[in-house]
Symmetry: none
Subunit: 226 residues, 2 copies
Amino acid sequence: MKILLVEDEKKLASFIQQGLQEQSYLVEVSHDGVDADDKALKNDFDLIIIDLMLPKKSGFALCKSVRAYNPGVLILILTALESTEDKIQAFESGADDYLTKPFDFRELLLRVRALFRRKATQGNGDSKLQISNLELDPAGKTVKRDGQRIELTAKEFGLLEYLLMNRNRVVSRADILENVWETNFDPGSNTVEVYINFLRRKIDKKFSPKLIHTVVGMGYVLREGE
Amino acid sequence: MKILLVEDEKKLASFIQQGLQEQSYLVEVSHDGVDADDKALKNDFDLIIIDLMLPKKSGFALCKSVRAYNPGVLILILTALESTEDKIQAFESGADDYLTKPFDFRELLLRVRALFRRKATQGNGDSKLQISNLELDPAGKTVKRDGQRIELTAKEFGLLEYLLMNRNRVVSRADILENVWETNFDPGSNTVEVYINFLRRKIDKKFSPKLIHTVVGMGYVLREGE
DNA sequence: TATAAATTTAAAAAATTCTTTAAAAACTGA
DNA sequence: TCAGTTTTTAAAGAATTTTTTAAATTTATA
């Protein structure tokens, strides 16, 4: 994932850059609006993080211009201003999200992840996920097994989607909690187990082959073979 | 996993030490920056937890110096200071993560685990491992011999994966304990031997050539030749 | 070859992990 | 607010895995 960070405060920029790189994102930094516009045009970034207060070209202007020639890119606005006015203007300029300084780095990370996730489920609007006779449509939020529509709640859907994105891969409870529940910890609760059970009841019980398998001591996996 | 804890407040240090040891991490404690620097140079720690306020040598200085001669080690900074300035400085000094006091011990544990996980997944492509007609898929946690699926438990799988990563290399019982059981000591038990035999029964007994070999007095090795 | 050390094997005991159910808590929408 | 739904917590029992124990076997060496 390639990210362009546009921030003129150099210390903050390098702090954010480092943090993102540790999460193995590819990060380029630009310190003013004109340079950023240039870089954005030449490279294919997935996400552009823009500080509103920029030299040479305002964040809003940059946002608009980038959006004009690249409708697909994600844009996250950073700013010291909390005003509703500014939020509105940000979104009107084409931003996808908005974060007020000062912020906790973890929060930035959360937003970034959420944006990518959103894009991922959006981008393949027509590419449904499937395995065996189970089909999931991320756009329409529907699930079918043997052509038969199955109703899932939001969490159930999220879990199934995650398992499906990782089919044939064993995912641990921690992986699931992190990606579906978006929390890293769980002091001894069994939410995941319970939801696996919910899913099994709905998508596996009356059908064959069984798709959800538990791998004791490791996690769960969605696959056709035993 | 070996951890060095650098914290001058002795009560807090021993509290953290105890908590980490209960999670079976190996923990050494140092009460000042100079001693810590010394220890870090002589031993091969996986993680160093550093309190910023230290006698003799500041946390930042320690962090930098440790990072200079050991780029691979993980560093977690503890501090009473909440300022963004300090966070930035911490990351600039080469820290991997940052935690503000007072903290819930479980949160510390979380961070520690996350750091280890991050480190582990860095070099870890999910490419399959194989030797002769034995194949192991780290992502799907499956093992095949002659194309035939073999069921292994978590520990058996971990052991085979380790042997496979070290194929043609004799690994001692101590190596195995450290890397598969993640403990360095074993008060006169034969767990490793027992597990080697579980594995032999499952992956070698009905197949040829034999792959697991005993090197008396040294350990075990996975290889094709005798 | 005899003896001690190291390794293998099998069985049981202990510990952990999973499933399932039920009920409490937290949301949601009328 | 209230009823219905969804999500989370809790707990018991089942299933499986891990560890221990101890005896049998093999290997090294004096």
